[in-house]
Structures are given as structure tokens and as C-alpha cells.
Amino acid sequence: MLRKDQKYILMFIFILLGVLTTVQFRSIWNNNKNKPSIAYEIENLKKELEAEIAAGNELREEIEFNTKKKESILKTFVSGNDDGQLMEQWETVKLYAGLTDVKGDGVIITLNDAEEKNPIQVDWSLLHDSDIYEVVNELKKGGAQAISINNERVISTTEIVCAGPTIRVNRNRYAVPYEIKAIGDPKRLYSTFIESPIYSVLKWLEIRIEIKEAKDIEIPKFNGNIDNLVKGVEVVEQ
């Protein structure tokens, strides 16, 4: 026969064993129930997302192709009619509006969050929308003639707003790092930016920031739907 205290110990051990078995059983059961289904769903969503992105790219290409086709039809018929004046005017207006791909010398700025968290305020180690539009404003002060942010052309309606961890530019979202390209006088752009208050502030906050002069920078045209940008606006006849 066991002694009384040994009985208690055994009882305690078996209680633990019971709890353990239950927890173990439930955990395995839950895992089997959830894991494959979530993983399966993620797999499916990834595939669906890839398909949508591919479809989007295809649509963009088709739109690009058809826009060119339309332009060439217009060119063929309209140019012959008035010595190409109207067509020339059209090209100029498109350039002013930011609807053509352009090339030229200028600067390229890259911006990224600070490598380490700021000990005073974590927020300070991250880039904000105001940082980006202040940088862009400095480039405009420096006489920039065309600007893009992650290849999104900056036009008269271009907004730069925080949307969670990303920023929204021309209604599309982008995450860090940001590459800002500007065409203009490289020297003037460079010195205006280096001497600007926003540059010192970002440097002080240890935001990763780089600026380099570059030749023949290519900046793409505005890629969104221009019909959305003229709604509600009427031209006043002069």
C-alpha cells in the first residue's frame, strides 16, 4: 500500500496529466482545423491577386497601344488638313499638362525611413506625407520642370497623402523607399535642396536621404484617367 502523502502526489500528477492531455488534444484539433484552411485561402488569394495584377498590366498595355493608335489616326487625318498646326499645338498642350514622357538632366532623390527607431519618438523615424510634399516643393523652388515620385508624374492635381504605412500619389499607393526624379538645372536643383530646411530636418532625424545629379532622366507621363481630373470644371471662353 502507498503512504498517504504519496497518494496526494500521485493525484496531483494525474490531474496535471489530464489537463495536459486535454490542452494537447484541443490544440492539435484546432491546428488541424484552421491551419490548412487559412494557408489554403492565402494561397488562393495570392493567385487571385497575381491574376488581377497581370490583368491590370495587360489592360494598361492595351490602353497604351490604343492611345497611340488613336494619336496616329488623328495625325494622319488632321495634319494633312492644316499643315500640322493643330497637331503641333496638341503636342505642346500635352507637354504642359504632363501627358507626355519626357527626358532631361536633373536630380534623383531617394528617401527611406530611418534605419533605427528614434529614441525620443518612434514616429520621427518614419517618413510622412508632409516630408514628401515639402521635398517636392523644394524641387519646384529650384526650378524643376518635371517631377515624378516612384514614376508617378507630378501634375497639377497630384496629391501626396498618408494611407497607413504607404503614401497615395495620383490615387495609387506606394511604400518606402521613394524615388523622386526631377528634370531641371541639376546644379540649381541640387543646391536648392541641400540648403533647404527640410533637408536639415530629415538629416537630423536620420531619415535615409540621398540626392545625386543625373543625366537624361526619364520621367513618364501621367498614367491615370484624365476624365476624372476635369469633372465639374468648365472652360471660360475668352
Binding site: L16, Q24, A146
Partner: protein, 235 residues
């Protein structure tokens, strides 16, 4: 006998202890991976919704373009149709470039300093408002009748704000006009509300917002430094 019992009990307890710890860790890890998975799941769902919306818009753009090209092809030689089409396209591009005076429904914002001895309108106030208007999808903006175009700079020197190269006294009121698509006006006023509240809370600036059925925004003057394209080589 008693010694043997103690040894075996110790051994059992030891094994049990290790098992419990092990089990605990495994359950904890499972929970952690599950939450990471559900996070990526939500993230993926969000991305998918955005992509789908984008693609819908692209599809309708493509359809409109296809229709135009079909019309073009069936009307071979009809110069008037081509010219008319080019005219509308040109008008849209001119609005975006700021080459024409425009009118439409919108808002009129007047910001002024309460005591000109102690305060002035700052560069950042104006940048914030302009960016806020753009975020609310304003389609044409002007400050003190200077049209804000793609390359319009806002800078500050001494007591002056400089926009499109034109100096404006920063102790004077600034009138900012913006044209919107009608249904977006109320939303934009609401969205900018927090910006204005913050400015007013600082105590130096007063903001007045007026909703108008029709406002006129002038075109950009061609001698402005922000309207210069001589360094661009076309691709």
C-alpha cells in the same frame, strides 16, 4: 524501498515539467503563426479589392477608347469628327495644364492672421491646404488668383510668400479657391475641417470657408517661372 519511490517520483515530475514547458511553448507558437497568417490574409484581401477596383476603371477606360477608335475607323476621312475629338482632348489637357480660365462649383477659403504684429501666414499652412485640396480631389486651385499648376512653388522670404514667382504679403489675407466635382464638395469641406480646426486652435489664424455654386479660377500667366519647359527633351 522508500528511497526508490522518491527517485521515481522525482523522475516523473521532472519529465512532466519538461513536457508542460514544451507544450506551452508549442501552443504559444501556434497562436502566433495563426495571428500572422490572419494578418497577411486581411492584407491580401485589401490589396485584392484595390486591384479589382483599379482594373474595373481600366476596363471602362479601355472600352471608351475602343469605342472612339471604332468611330474613327468607320468615319474615315471625316475631318470634322477628328477635329472635334482633338478639340475635346485639347480642352481637357488645357484644364489640367492651367492654360485656360475655368469655372465650376467649389469652395472659397479665406485665411487671415488675427494680429498682424505677432503672426503671419506660413509656407506650411499653404502647402498643407493645397495638398489637402488635392487629396479631396480638387480639379483646379488658385491662391490669390495665381493658378496652382504642376510646377507651382510656394516659398517664403521675409514677410512675403512667393507663388509662381509673385510675392504676396504674408500678413494679408490669402484667398484660396478650388473647383470640385459637385458631389465632392461637402466631403472636401469635412476632410479639410480638421486642418482648419488645428490652425484656428493655434490661435493666430482665422479661417473662413464658403461653398459656392460657381467660382472662376484664372489661367496661369505664361511669363511665370513655374511655366517653363525649356530644359525638357521630349522622348
Amino acid at each position: 524501498m522508500k528511497f526508490k519511490n522518491t527517485i521515481s517520483l522525482t523522475l516523473i515530475c521532472l519529465i512532466m515539467g519538461i513536457t508542460v514547458a514544451w507544450q506551452y511553448k508549442s501552443v504559444y507558437n501556434n497562436k502566433k503563426t495563426a495571428s500572422v497568417q490572419s494578418m497577411t490574409l486581411e492584407d491580401l484581401k485589401d490589396k485584392l479589392i484595390i486591384e479589382k477596383k483599379n482594373n474595373d476603371e481600366l476596363r471602362s477606360r479601355k472600352d471608351a477608347l475602343d469605342k472612339e477608335i471604332r468611330e474613327f475607323e468607320s468615319a474615315k476621312g471625316d475631318i470634322d469628327l477628328y477635329k472635334k475629338n482633338l478639340g475635346t482632348e485639347m480642352e481637357k489637357a488645357s484644364i489640367i495644364a492651367g492654360l485656360t480660365d475655368v469655372k465650376g462649383p467649389g469652395i472659397n477659403i479665406t485665411i487671415s492672421v488675427k494680429d498682424t504684429n505677432f503672426a503671419w501666414i506660413g509656407l506650411k499652412d499653404l502647402l498643407t491646404i493645397v495638398n489637402g485640396l488635392r487629396a479631396a480631389e480638387a480639379n483646379a486651385i488658385s491662391i490669390n488668383d495665381e493658378r496652382i499648376i504642376a510646377m507651382t512653388e510656394i516659398s517664403e522670404i521675409g514677410n512675403y510668400i512667393i507663388i509662381n514667382g509673385v510675392p504676396m504679403g504674408s500678413d494679408k489675407p490669402f484667398v484660396i479657391k478650388a473647383i470640385f466635382e459637385e458631389p465632392k464638395i461637402d466631403y472636401s469641406i469635412k476632410m479639410l475641417g480638421s486642418v482648419f480646426t488645428k490652425m484656428e486652435e493655434d490661435g493666430y489664424i482665422s479661417v473662413e470657408v464658403e461653398k459656392l455654386d460657381s467660382i472662376i479660377i484664372p489661367k496661369i500667366e505664361k511669363n511665370r517661372p513655374s511655366f517653363n519647359f525649356d530644359l525638357i527633351k521630349e522622348n
